[in-house]
C-alpha cells in the first residue's frame, strides 16, 4: 500500500458559536490546515467532508458548500455520513485518493454545529414504519446516555467497576483538557465535583458525559511523491479502519431496542472490527500504541473501549486507571487533548479533531500536555447503528 503522509492539520476552538455558520468554521479549519501544509488552496486535488446533518441539505452537502467558500476549483468532492464515524469515513476517502494514486494532495474536513442538550432524532420527511431511531424516543425515552448507562451497569455488575472509577476517568481526562487552548471546558474536575454533579442516567453523572459542541477540523494528506519534495508534518497516516457491529454482539447498541445478551459474540464488535483493520493496515499491534484519543462520550466508554481496542486485557482498565497509568506521564495516556469530555461532541468533526491531536503530539508540538516519546497514536470514534472508525498515526 502507498505511504500516505499528513501534510498539515487545522482545528478551530470548540464550543458554542451561535453567530458562526458551519461553513465559517470549516473554512477556518481548512485555512489553518493548508497553511500548516504550506500549500495553496488551488493545489488541493480533492475534498471529502463529513456531512453536517443538522444543517439540512446544505449541511449534508458540506463539501460542496466548503469548496465554494474556499474557491470553486472544480475538484472532486464527496460527503460522508456515518454517524459519529463520519469524519473517519471522510478521512478514509481522502486516504484512498492518495493511496490509489488518484490525488497527490487530498483534504478531509469536518465542520459541525450541534443542537443543545441530548442529540435528538434526525428529522425525516417521509414516514418510515418501525424505525428504531424513532421508537427509541416514542416507546422507551432512550437518549444516548441511557444506552451507555445500561452497558455501564452491566460492566459494574460483571467487574466491580465503582462510581468512583467513573469519576476518576473524568478527573484524569479533564486534567488534559485544562491544558488544551482549543477545548471548550478548560478546567480539571475533582472526583468529588464529578460525583456531586446531577445524575443524568444512573450511574452516569452530567460531568461523566460529553456535551455537544460546535467545531471544525481539517487534515491535508499527500502522497510520497509530494512528500519527497515538499515539507510534511513528518507524520504518516498509517491506518484508517471502518467497522460495523456483528449480529451476535451482546452489547445493546444505539438506537436498537433489543440485543442478544448471552451469545458468544464479541462486545462492541464495530470497534473491534474497525481497530483490527487499522492495526493491520498500519502494521502495528495494540502494544505499539503510545497514546490514544478515545471515543469518550461517557466515562464508561473509556473503560470499555480500552478492551475493544485491545489496549488492555479484559478487566484491566479499572486497575490501570486507579494506578494513574491512563493520565499524562502514565504508561498509556488517554485523550491528551482532553477528549470529547473536554471538547464536547461535534458529530461531524470529532474524528478529525482526534487526527489533529495525534499529529501535533507525534510532532512534539503539544506543549504542556505533550506525551513523551510518542511514536504511535490511535484515535477512535463510534456511532449510531454500530459503526466505528479507527485511525493509527505514526511518526
Amino acid at each position: 500500500v502507498s505511504v500516505v503522509h499528513v501534510m498539515g492539520v487545522g482545528m478551530t476552538p470548540w464550543g458554542k458559536f451561535p453567530d458562526r455558520t458551519f461553513v465559517e468554521l470549516g473554512v477556518e479549519a481548512l485555512r489553518q490546515a493548508i497553511g500548516d501544509a504550506g500549500i495553496e488552496w488551488r493545489e488541493v486535488e480533492s475534498l471529502s467532508a463529513a456531512s453536517h446533518v443538522w444543517g439540512g441539505l446544505p449541511g449534508i452537502l458540506a463539501a460542496n458548500q466548503l469548496v465554494n467558500a474556499m474557491g470553486a476549483s472544480g475538484i472532486p468532492v464527496s460527503n460522508s455520513y456515518n454517524a459519529c464515524a463520519s469524519t473517519g469515513t471522510a478521512l478514509y476517502q481522502a486516504y484512498l485518493e492518495i493511496a490509489s494514486g488518484m490525488s497527490d494532495i487530498a483534504v478531509a474536513v469536518g465542520a459541525d454545529k450541534s443542537p443543545e442538550g441530548f442529540l435528538p432524532q434526525v428529522p425525516k420527511v417521509i414516514a418510515q414504519p418501525v424505525d428504531v431511531d424513532e421508537l427509541r424516543w416514542t416507546a422507551v425515552a432512550a437518549s444516548n446516555p441511557v444506552y451507555w448507562a445500561l452497558e455501564c451497569r452491566r460492566r459494574m455488575d460483571r467487574l466491580g467497576t465503582t462510581e468512583e472509577d467513573l469519576a476518576l476517568v473524568k478527573a484524569t481526562i479533564s486534567r488534559h483538557g485544562a491544558q488544551n487552548p482549543s477545548a471548550r471546558y478548560r478546567r480539571s474536575y475533582s472526583m468529588e465535583e464529578v460525583l456531586a454533579s446531577p445524575m443524568v442516567a444512573d450511574p452516569l453523572h452530567l460531568l461523566e458525559l460529553c456535551a455537544t459542541s460546535d467545531g471544525a477540523a481539517a487534515v491535508v494528506l499527500c502522497s510520497d511523491r509530494v512528500a519527497r519534495r515538499r515539507r510534511t508534518t513528518g507524520v504518516r497516516l498509517a491506518g484508517v479502519g471502518i467497522g460495523t457491529g456483528e449480529a451476535d454482539d451482546p452489547a445493546l447498541r444505539m438506537p436498537y431496542l433489543a440485543s442478544t445478551p448471552h451469545a458468544s459474540g464479541r462486545a462492541l464488535s464495530e470497534s473491534v472490527n474497525s481497530a483490527a483493520r487499522a492495526y493491520k493496515q498500519a502494521g502495528v499491534s495494540p502494544q505499539d500504541v503510545d497514546f490514544a484519543e478515545m471515543p469518550d462520550n461517557s466515562a464508561w466508554h473509556v473503560l470499555a473501549y480500552l478492551e475493544a481496542l485491545e489496549l488492555c486485557a479484559p478487566g484491566e482498565p479499572e486497575k490501570l486507571l486507579r494506578e494513574g497509568a491512563l493520565g499524562l506521564g502514565g504508561r498509556l495516556p488517554l485523550c491528551p487533548s482532553g477528549g470529547l469530555s473536554s471538547l464536547g461532541e461535534a458529530v461531524s468533526a470529532q474524528g478529525l479533531a482526534q487526527v489533529y491531536e495525534l499529529t501535533r503530539q507525534l510532532q512534539g508540538r503539544s506543549g504542556s500536555r505533550q506525551v513523551e516519546n510518542a511514536r504511535v497514536g490511535l484515535g477512535q470514534v463510534y456511532g449510531l447503528f454500530g459503526v466505528s472508525s479507527t485511525v493509527v498515526a505514526v511518526s
Binding site: G117, F118, P120, Q121, P129, V130, V132, L135, R136, W137, T138, A139, V140, A141, A142, S143, P145, V146, A149, L150, E151, R153, R154, D157, P198, M199, V200, A201, D202, P203, L204, E246, A247, D248, L252, L257, A258, S259, T260, P261, H262, A263
Partner: protein, 174 residues
Amino acid sequence: VRSQVAKGDVVQNEREGPKLTAAPDGAEGLPSSARPIAAGLFVWPSPPEAARLLASRCPECGDVSFPAVPHCRMPACALIETEPFQISGTGRVISATVQRYQPPGPFGQRQPFQPIPIALVEFEAGIAVLGVVKDWDGEPIPSGSQARLVLTTLYPGEDGAAVVGWAYQLEGRP
C-alpha cells in the same frame, strides 16, 4: 420489514379474531380511545396485563429480533426468511437506569416531568428488550430482578388519545 409485519398481523388475526381499532371493553387500565405507538409492534388489542411483542425468529438458528425483521441477521443465515414469533411473560432484568432529564420526544412533554426508569430485560428466547418500568417505587432495580411484560399508557398523543406501549412490571428483586 413491512411484509414481515403484515405476516405477523395475519397470524395474529387468525389467533385473535377480527382486528379492532380500539381497546376491548373491560381492558382495565387502558382508556377506550387508546391506540398503540405504531402498528406491528405488539398484539393489539390486548389486555394490558399480558403484552405480546411481535418479534421474528430464524427457523435455522433461532435468533430472535424485535421489532421483527424479514431476514435473519446472522451472517451464516444471510437472507433466510424469518417466521413470526411472540415475546411475552416474565424475563430477567440484566440492566436498568433512570432517565432523569427531559428527553426529546413525547416522553419529555409529560408535565411535570418525572424521571423515567428503563430496564433491559432478557427473555427465555435469548433476546433482551428495552422498555420503561411501570409503577416504579423509586428504589434501585438490580439485575436479576423479575419483570413482566405488560401494556400501559405512555403519554397522550397529539390528538389527545392515550398512546399505548409495552412496559415492565417489576415482580421481585433478587
